[in-house]
Amino acid sequence: MEKILEVEHLVKIYTLGSITSRVHITAVDNVSFSIDAGEIFTLAGESGCGKTTTAKMVLGFEDPTSGTIVHGGKRHESSTKKKVWFTEGVQAIFQDPFGTFNPLRTVDRYFFETVQNYKLAKSNEEAIELIDQKLRAVGLSYSQFAGKYPSEFSGGQLQRISVARALLTDPSLLIADEPVSMVDASLRMSIVNLFDKLRKEFGMSVLYITHDLATAYYVSDRIAVMFRGNIVEMGTVEQVLMNPRHPYTQLLKESIPEADPEKRWKGRVKLSNSEEEEYLSMGCKFAARCPQVKDICRLEVPKDIIVDEVLVKCHLYSENVPAEQA
C-alpha cells in the first residue's frame, strides 16, 4: 500500500533564554512514523508533547532541525515557494474554528478564494456547484451557508465548514489538530464520524492530533502516543489503547472521565510541576511521575523496543528485542 506520509527521524530544537543562560528544548526528539492511504492515524499526547510542532513541520509551517518528511513519495524541501502539489495534497483544520475565519468576512469568501487560487472551476456557477458538493459531504448545503458570517454558526458547524473548505482540493491527507477540543463533549461524534465517512467515501487519510484517547479509539486505526517530544508507544488502537504498555499511556487512559459512575477514577494523579524540567531530564522524561520507575530510568534514555508488534520506549520491556535489531 502506498504511503501517503513518511516522517523519518524528525527533530526540532528550540533555543530559549538570554545570552548568559541558553536552554535547548528538544520539542520533537527523533520521531518516525508513516501513514498509509485511507488510514486514520492519531498522534496523541498532552500539551507540550510536541504533536503540534510535528504537525507544523509536516505542513511546512516550520523547518525541522533535522530529519525528513516525505509526502506521497515526494521529499519535502524547505524553500520559500510552497509547491502547489504539496498544498493540494495536504490540508489542515485547527482547534479553534472561530480563529480560522475572520469575523468580518462572510465564510463563503474563503471558499471562492480557494477555488480561484487553485483554478478549480471555470465559472461562478461551477464554483458554487463544487462548493455545494463539498458542503454536502459534511452535512451542510450552500443555501444554508451563503452570505453568512462566522458568528452565525455554532462551533461544531464551523469546524465542519473548515473540513469542507479543506476538501476543495481533494487532498489525500487531512491534518486535524485538536479539532474537537473546543466543541462540547456531546457534539464531538459528529465531527469525528465525518473523518470516517471521508475515509470510506474518498479514500482520504487523516492525521488526527488530540489528547482525547476516547475519540482516538473510536475513529482511528493506529496511534502514536507522545510525551515531551518522544513517541513512547505506537501500534494499532486495539493494541495500544485496550492493553497499554507504557506507564504514560496507562495514565492517559485511566484519566479519561467515563460517563459511568461505576468506572470512576481510582487512586490519585500527580501533575508535573514544571514542563521545562521534564524536557531537560536525563534518562526517561517520565521518570519523575512514573509509578513504576526504576533506578535505570533516571539515568538512561530507554530504547525503542518492539513488544507484540507494538513499539514501546520503556525500560520495563528491555528484555524484549530492541527495534533496531528486530
Partner: protein
C-alpha cells in the same frame, strides 16, 4: 427563578430567556453538577445563584435564598455592601477561564494577599501571606507558584491556583463554571481531584457546571440537566446514569465514546435553540426522537417521578416513559 437578558438594540427589545422558571434546592455537603451544552443558560444560572446580576441581565422574578448561619436570606434583597460581605466568605465563584480572576501583572501571592485583605479585617500583609502559603501547601500545590506570574504557569496550574483561591476563606458554597474545559485529560483529572479534596475538607457545597458527563460521573453527587434555560431532569448521579428518563439526558450520555466499543455513535442532532427565539411547547421538541403532538404545544411540568428524581417530559408524564 426567572432571569433574562433584556437587550435593547436600536429600539427593538430582544428578550433572551436565559433562566426560565427554575426551582432548585441545593444541599449542604454535596457536589451538585449542572450539565448542558453551550448556550443553554447555565452560566447565567450560575451568575444568578452567585447574585452577580448586572444589566443587561435582569432578574425578572423568583427568589434566591442562602441559608446563612441558621437564617434564610433572600439574596436579591441585599444591597451591594452586604453582598460584598457575603462574597468569598460564604459563596465564591470561579468563572470560566482562570485568567479572568488572576491579575496578569502581579505575582500570584499579591493576588492572594489582595483578596485576603479586602475580605478579612485585621490582617496585616505578612499574616495574609502566611495564610495564603499555608493554604496552598495544604492543598498539595508547589510553594513556588506564589512567586510566579500567571503567564509563567501552565493552564492547569493556573486553574488549580484559582480554585484554591476560591476556597481560601472556607466558603459554604463554591460555584465553578466549566473549570476543566480545554484542559488536557490528565490535568483535568488533577483539577477535579483538587475540587473533591476541597469539598471533602470543608464539607461544603460545590456547584459544578460542565458539558462533560464523564466529569459529572466522577465528581457529582446529584446532577441537574439543563436545556434552553430550564432544568429538565434532576437525580442522584447513579440514578441519572442508570435510568435517564429525558431523551436529552439519554443523548448526552450516549454521545460519549467508550473504550472497547467501536459501534457508531451519534451526537444530538441539530443545534440548541437560540434563547431569544425558543420553539413553542417543550423547547427540545425539534430535536427529540420521540416527539408527540402535545410536545409542540405545551411545556411539560417538572414533576417528581420518585422522591429524588424529577423530570419534565410528556413521555414520562403520559406514562410512555423509556
Amino acid at each position: 427563578m426567572h432571569a433574562c437578558y433584556i437587550l435593547d438594540v436600536h429600539g427593538t427589545q430582544k428578550v433572551v430567556q436565559a433562566v426560565n422558571q427554575i426551582d432548585l434546592v441545593i444541599k449542604e455537603n454535596e457536589v451538585y453538577g449542572i450539565a448542558g451544552e453551550s448556550g443553554c443558560g447555565k452560566s447565567t444560572l450560575l451568575k444568578a445563584l452567585a447574585a452577580v446580576i448586572e444589566p443587561p441581565l435582569r432578574h425578572i422574578g423568583g427568589k434566591i435564598y442562602y441559608h446563612v448561619a441558621g437564617e434564610m436570606i433572600d439574596v436579591s434583597t441585599l444591597d451591594a455592601e452586604e453582598m460584598r460581605h457575603l462574597r468569598w466568605r460564604f459563596v465564591s465563584y470561579v468563572p470560566q477561564g482562570s485568567m479572568s480572576v488572576l491579575n496578569p501583572v502581579v505575582k500570584i501571592k499579591e493576588t492572594y494577599k489582595d483578596f485576603i485583605i479586602s475580605h478579612v479585617t485585621g490582617q496585616s500583609q505578612k499574616e495574609a501571606y502566611e495564610l495564603a502559603k499555608h493554604h496552598i501547601a495544604e492543598l498539595g500545590l508547589p510553594p513556588e507558584v506564589m512567586n510566579a506570574y500567571p503567564h509563567q504557569l501552565s493552564g492547569g496550574m493556573r486553574q488549580r491556583v484559582t480554585i484554591a483561591l476560591a476556597a481560601l476563606l472556607s466558603p459554604q458554597i463554591i460555584i465553578a463554571d466549566e473549570p476543566t474545559t480545554a484542559l488536557d485529560v490528565v490535568v483535568q483529572r488533577g483539577v477535579v481531584q483538587l475540587i473533591k479534596d476541597i469539598q471533602q475538607k470543608l464539607q461544603n457545597t460545590v456547584i459544578l457546571v460542565t458539558h462533560d458527563m464523564g466529569v459529572h460521573a466522577n465528581v457529582a453527587d446529584r446532577i441537574g440537566i439543563m436545556y434552553a434555560g430550564k432544568i429538565v431532569e434532576e437525580a442522584p448521579t447513579d440514578i441519572i446514569f442508570a435510568e435517564p428518563l429525558h431523551p436529552y439526558t439519554q443523548y448526552l450520555i450516549n454521545s460519549l465514546p467508550q473504550f472497547g466499543d467501536k459501534t457508531r455513535r451519534e451526537s444530538v442532532p441539530g443545534s440548541p435553540p437560540e434563547l431569544s427565539d425558543l420553539p413553542g411547547g417543550c423547547a427540545f421538541h425539534p430535536r427529540c426522537p420521540y416527539v408527540m403532538d402535545i410536545c409542540k404545544e405545551k411545556m411539560p411540568d417538572y414533576i417528581a417521578i420518585k422522591p429524588d428524581h424529577k423530570v419534565a417530559c410528556w413521555l414520562v408524564e403520559e406514562g410512555k416513559g423509556h
